[in-house]
Symmetry: C2
Subunit: 238 residues, 2 copies
């Protein structure tokens, strides 16, 4: 079974939702047969690469709320994150463009390091004091290396804005086709969707339902083509 | 959409069948949205690693056929391969254990190099004069490098017989669960199966049917959990 999770590194509910999903998956009896793939979804794709704002400023501008209200929202998120055992820095986080991080996540997927990099990016963005937005490519290279990627290879990907750009855009088109308007968005075997940072029990139910619903395989054109089996290679006589 | 192909490097119909499938896929309008994964299936899993036999000897022993009959079978395969534009060496090929190649293919999958390595292994086994069975690990390392893998990393995988062994066994268990008794065995979205080296038209029909049959996504527990969208992160009031 395959679970695809559309996500953005700048999305606090993705950070919390992944922890809830991971909890459900860890207890799922067939977890060894579940493959998880992370897909790209930028919350703020039109923000320029260098345009970095404190999260609180972004919130007050976007919603016309007071700084105290914005801070209360961050505190609420911090509490929800803590309930999942996650660190969350409720003061002084930055908001910015995440396109390069998504490109790097696609490179990491090819290298079998996608989950490790996503966890490193989440942790860096939500829990660490240093910004993932203001220190340039070398900060992301550092996180890539922590996730087991080669520094020079990561640097090369980051230096070329077209590298893995099509893959990010393709994920975003697919999200739209699947009807996702926000993230996190979980898709199980392209059959069931779960939207938002649902409680772990919801993910458990979704995994169980999708697992139980896998259809039996329908063999197409099964009139015997050439194949090899343990007894050798047969050449049908027609 | 995802197509999984169970295959063995020692399986001539897998070599031919992959070319026919590739032809169908190249002409499939949604090919960019089709992901292909190669799965392991050993035709001769109980053969010891060092036990290498000429293919003709294996065929005469296994079927009690004459060497001339075995050679006629190889010539027939060579003709079918040629019809797909593939080179096929009908004289002097070897037969042996392919477990290490499957382990290496799983490593290559992690590195995004699986198809390149499979093509290199097929070509080496079916078209090249040098044996893939008698020259030891370094021959496989050479092919791994040709497929874009790191030589030392490939050497490390090959030197440790437990590396990726579980992944190979898991593929083989899954093949049995899906009802595959021979290879190549193609599985589309875990819904449709195609067995054997069918003509390209059959693969075209299977791709078209599986694509058209993708179910619309069913949203589970869609009563609004916390999510972030282009308009920001919402906290539901319940």
């Amino acid at each position: 079974m395959r679970v695809e999770i559309w996500t953005d590194i700048a999305c606090p509910w993705c950070y919390v939702g992944k922890a809830r999903f991971d909890k459900a998956l860890a207890a799922f009896p067939h977890r060894e047969q579940v493959e998880v793939v992370h897909r790209s979804f930028e919350l703020d794709p039109h923000r320029a690469k260098g345009d970095v704002t404190p999260v609180l400023t972004m919130l007050t501008r976007k919603y016309g709320m007071s700084e105290a209200q914005a801070q209360a929202g961050e505190d609420n998120l911090g509490a929800q994150a803590a309930a999942e055992g996650l660190e969350y820095r409720t003061r002084g986080r930055d908001h910015g463009n995440t396109f390069d991080m998504h490109r790097l996540l696609h490179f990491a997927e090819e290298q079998g390091r996608q989950t490790a990099l996503l966890d490193a990016l989440y942790r860096a963005n939500f829990a660490e004091e240093r910004s993932v937005f203001t220190e340039g490519d070398e900060r992301l290279v550092e996180l890539a290396v922590a996730a087991g990627l080669d520094a020079d290879a990561a640097r090369t990907v980051l230096a070329d804005p077209t590298a893995y750009a099509d893959e990010v855009r393709a994920d975003e088109r697919e999200a739209a086709q699947l009807g996702a308007t926000g993230v996190p968005f979980f898709v199980l075997d392209r059959k069931y969707g779960v939207s938002g940072a649902q409680p772990a029990e919801v993910f458990t139910r979704a995994l169980t339902q999708a697992w139980g619903d896998r259809p039996p395989l329908t063999l197409l054109d099964d009139d015997g083509a050439e194949a090899c089996g343990p007894d050798g290679c047969a050449v049908p006589q027609h």
